[in-house]
Amino acid sequence: MTSSSGVAVRSKRSRRVRRIATPYLLLLPAVAIYAVFTVYPIYRQFDISFYNWHIFPGASNPFMGWSNYTAIFHDPVIRTAAFNSFLFIVITVPVQMAIGLFAAAVLTDRLPGSMFWRAAVYIPVVTSWVVVSWVFSYLFASQGGVMNAVAGFFSGHTVAIDWTAQTWTANVVIWLLSIWKGVGWSFIIFLAALDGIPKQLLESARIDGAREWHVWRHVVLPSIRGAVTFVTVLLVIGAAQVFTQIFEITKGGPYNSTQSMMTYMYQQAFSNFAFGYAAALASLLAVVLFGLSAAEIRIMRHQDL
């Protein structure tokens, strides 16, 4: 009898241990991968940023203190890259959100072929950046590009703008491409958010005689506030790492004039092998963006939309 109760106690305890250990065991693979491939690199990045780091084996990596960071502020290309990245964010993010929300509002109620329209708006999101970068390059080609042909059709004489070879027109192509490919993502999140608004809430607002504008202002927008915050934060972060479309369309040229922070960082690291400098750049950018995201979340949480 005593032995059997001992077994019971032990098994009870082992069950308790198991119960406590289970969540940690479940988390283990995720935490391990995250620690090795995300957290450690963050630390490593800061570490490298204080050295004149050479990738080549056996090379010495002299300690530089903060000089990689101070160099950033004397680098003329940084100013262009930061300005381009900033412009890219403030232009593409609001436009994507506006069009995405507009499309969601139009397509949220049933319409013949609903599923088709929704799928069509989303499809650019799943295409490959490399592919669509070249499709757009081709659309905007100076010779035989569709856009020049369209412009020619309306202006009445031959148009041969070399879009991707000049700073501003190249920027326009990059923005248009990014908006085109990005709209579907905010669209789908807004669609889900609009779908989730309780119908009674809308109905009762309308029965009260509220104008459609007021229904939007006071019922719809407040209800999707979470989605708006979410989309803003993630789009800004996505826009801050604009890379492939610039890398493919202009390579940052002419004369670095279309460089973004990310393409410039990449060039410093993997073309100029200035790993320490590029790491300093990346660390600084990470801190800035992290602060920006935190600020966005804070502002939107406290603001009445």
Binding site: T22, P23, Y24, L27, P29, V31, I33, Y34, F37, T38, P41, I55, A103, A105, V106, L107, T108, L111, F116, W117, A120, V121, Y122, I123, P124, V126, T127, S128, W129, V130, V135, L139, Q143, G144, G145, V146, N148, W180, G184, A192, A193, G196, E212, W213, V215, A227, F243, T244, F247, E248, M262, Y266, A269, F270, F275, A279, A282, A286, L289, F290
Partner: protein, 296 residues
């Protein structure tokens, strides 16, 4: 501006008339909505249809002439794209990396999301927020230290190494979404399951997974398309052409050759098909799966 309520009084409500949020006055104006839908679809699909059209255009005729619909369509570009540049290999590489990323991420993220959704433990929210915090920092910023790390682990130029990085970058968002879905599953189901003596893994595989199938499908689609499309990391980590994934191969195609646009666009179409198919298949689950509960 039209007042919605007034209109519904004067006119019998059409079967399709919205009860949803709609947009200002056009909520019930289906014809206008239809026109907008067509314009949106045209703008979205136009460039892609143009790509398809170019891929059937005889190579010599490209660039210099504006072509909307090829007058002498040919499949020669496809033959050339597939046979000349070991394109089949890149295709398989992309497929391996993307599928592996989906499988590993979904399994690992499900385990973690289940822990977050169903257990109380120390530092739970702290750990969760540490995961979430990485969403606030662009992944690409870690390219340099990740490159050095992979170098040290001898995982440079390897599809497995690439997969691991993709898993790591997709984990936080997947855990975040799945936690929300799992939390929405009523506790009672699980209790009765456990009463029958089911262990944690059984609960996950026979209860949670089937119940959240739509969510898992949608999340898988997100991860697949992200991995299939990923360029900068693959460009950095992969050096030998036998390990190229499609985006790297396509970029290389442009960089190295004097551009043969016909075969390039044919290759692009081939590279685009799988991800579009995956998306269309996942549509089936989209409505039920993505209430994206966690976000709202």
């Amino acid at each position: 501006m039209v007042i919605g309520v007034d209109k519904s009084k004067t006119k019998p409500r059409s079967a399709l008339a919205g009860t949803g949020p709609g947009l200002f006055g056009i909520r019930k104006r289906n014809r206008l909505r239809m026109v907008i839908a067509i314009v949106l679809a045209f703008l979205s699909l136009g460039p892609l249809l143009y790509m398809v059209s170019l891929s059937f255009q005889p190579n010599g005729g490209l660039l210099g002439a504006t072509v909307l619909i090829p007058t002498h369509p040919t499949v020669q570009n496809y033959v050339q794209a597939w046979t000349q540049n070991s394109f089949g290999r890149y295709f398989v590489n992309s497929l391996i990396v993307s599928i592996a990323t989906v499988v590993v991420t979904v399994i690992i993220a499900s385990l973690a999301a289940f822990a977050f959704a169903r257990y109380k433990f120390r530092f739970k929210e702290l750990i969760f927020y540490i995961f979430l915090a990485s969403l606030a920092v662009p992944n690409l910023l870690l390219l340099i230290p990740q490159f050095l790390l992979m170098d040290r682990l001898h995982l440079l130029d390897s599809l497995m190494g690439l997969t691991l990085l993709y898993v790591a970058s997709n984990l936080p968002f997947t855990i975040f979404l799945l936690r929300g879905f799992f939390e929405a599953i009523p506790h009672e189901y699980e209790e009765s399951f456990r009463m029958d003596g089911a262990g944690t893994i059984r609960v996950l595989t026979s209860l949670i997974a089937p119940l959240s199938l739509p969510a898992l499908a949608v999340v898988s689609m997100f991860i697949f398309s992200a991995a299939w499309d990923e360029f900068p990391v693959a460009l950095t980590m992969i050096s030998s052409s036998q390990h190229y994934t499609l985006p790297v191969a396509l970029a290389d195609f442009i960089g190295v050759h004097t551009v043969e646009w016909g075969p390039f666009f044919a290759a692009s179409v081939i590279a685009t098909i799988p991800v579009v198919v995956v998306f269309l298949v996942s549509l089936k689950w989209f409505r039920s799966g993505v209430s994206l509960g966690a976000i709202r």
